[in-house]
Amino acid sequence: MSANHTRAPTGAALRVKALEALLEDKGMVDPAAIDRIIDLYENKIGPRNGARVVAKAWTDAAFRKRLLADATAAVAELGYGGPEGGHLVAVENTARVHNLVVCTLCSCYPWPVLGLPPMWYKSFAYRSRAVRDPRGLLKEFGLEIPERVEVRVWDSSAEQRYMVIPRRPAGTAAMSEQELAALVTRDSMIGTAVIAPPSHKAFARS
């Protein structure tokens, strides 16, 4: 069904191989530099970064304040930054507002804190529907937003890259920052999930 799989991947593999060989022949790229970049995004940058940011915001009121005022500077305190992270914005879920992030025109995403986006975030279905029917879309993700709660969709059309600070679940008062970080899912920082209390941890995956 998905448009992402209609063309044979082997075709693309050959095309990329051909292109890389041509660019190498011309001295336009360094294969070792490519290896380093791949390693960075496969092994070092990912949603665990964002989870650490969220857990710190939950436990450190001054950090939370700095994060909401200037997320780029705040996450830099934890050593995070780089491409697609120059103008980070953190938006906070509350009892009255649920935030959802999308990029309708392409697939902008806050790489330094969430890593590279999942396929569904880049899919035509998500990009087209998030701004028009966020509640219907979230239902498909298993999330029913009460009518009294405002849904606020952030369409990343410029340089700002958005991350959602999910609500801290009940029953976590005794948990350490590290334990809290383990609860925070990628989807909860995009806004397509909320974080279940620890006893329901099974539902908080992915």
Binding site: M1, S2, A3, N4, P9, G11, A12, A13, L14, R15, V16, K17, A18, L19, E20, A21, L22, L23, M28, A33, I34, I37, I38, E42, G46, P83, H87, T104, L105, S107, G115, L116, P118, M119, W120, K122, S123, F124, A125, Y126, R127, S128, A130, V131, R132, E140, E147, R148, E150, V151, R152, V153, W154, D155, S156, S157, A158, E159, Q160, S206
Partner: protein, 228 residues
């Protein structure tokens, strides 16, 4: 351009398909291409790259995966900038697409003054612009009324920057639109869409009071019409 990439509000793409335990890359060619693009920075700015993706003919665009679109766009730019020839790419089997439209060249535009024209709280209307080239003003907000929430500061203007027309730096604002303003009465009454828009995309709107007066006038016309 009003390309297929501008898909906010569209139907016809089916449900969102998710994958459990999704890897960062689904195959090595995706990883190589990602690295290649990051390592080969001489192909132009981000606006040129996005516009190259937009210029992939719509049927091919929709039948390509995310990284296949990157691959197409990279080849379009390498050819257009004279760094590789179409023939070289064809000879190696790299299958470059023929773009739906040629790259547009703009004369350098004068910079906007640095002074912000709008302030948080100002009512605005997104202009009804339909440029032939690159823009970050999606169709779904054009002509719609919103409110400026924040001033993000000064950024290069994509509509010129993608076309050699210079950065024309100007303020970018976080603008909030009521879901009902965008999609009509069937949208949820409480919901909002926030989108970041450059100053050149915006015009001042009449303050709310006079808009509601206008609505009252229109309602009166409607009442008269329905009595016919």
């Amino acid at each position: 351009m009003n390309g297929i990439h501008d898909m906010g509000g569209m139907d016809g793409f089916g449900p969102v398909m998710r994958e459990e335990h999704e890897p960062v890359f689904h195959s090595r060619w995706e990883a190589r291409l990602f690295g290649l693009l990051a390592a080969c920075r001489r192909t132009g700015n981000a606006d040129e790259f996005r516009h190259a993706i937009e210029r992939i003919p719509a049927p091919r665009h929709l039948n390509s995966s995310y990284y296949e679109r990157w691959l197409d766009a990279l080849q379009i730019l390498l050819i257009e900038k004279g760094m590789l020839s179409r023939d070289e790419l064809l000879a190696r089997g790299a299958d470059p697409p023929i773009p739906a439209q040629a790259p547009m060249r703009l004369k350098p535009m004068p910079p906007r003054r640095a002074r912000a024209r709008f302030r948080p709280g100002d009512p605005i209307v997104a202009r009804n612009l339909n440029p032939a080239g690159h823009t970050r003003l999606p169709r779904y907000v054009r002509g719609k009324r919103g409110v400026v929430r924040r001033d993000w500061g000064i950024y290069a203007f994509p509509d010129t920057n993608a076309h050699g027309g210079g950065e024309r730096p100007q303020h970018v604002y976080s603008v909030a639109f009521k879901a009902r303003e965008l999609w009509g009465a069937s949208a949820a009454s409480r919901d909002w869409v926030y989108i970041d828009l450059w100053e050149d995309y915006l015009q001042a709107a009449a303050p709310r009071s006079s808009a509601s007066a206008r609505r009252r006038r229109i309602a009166a016309v409607n009442r008269r019409a329905s009595k016919r």
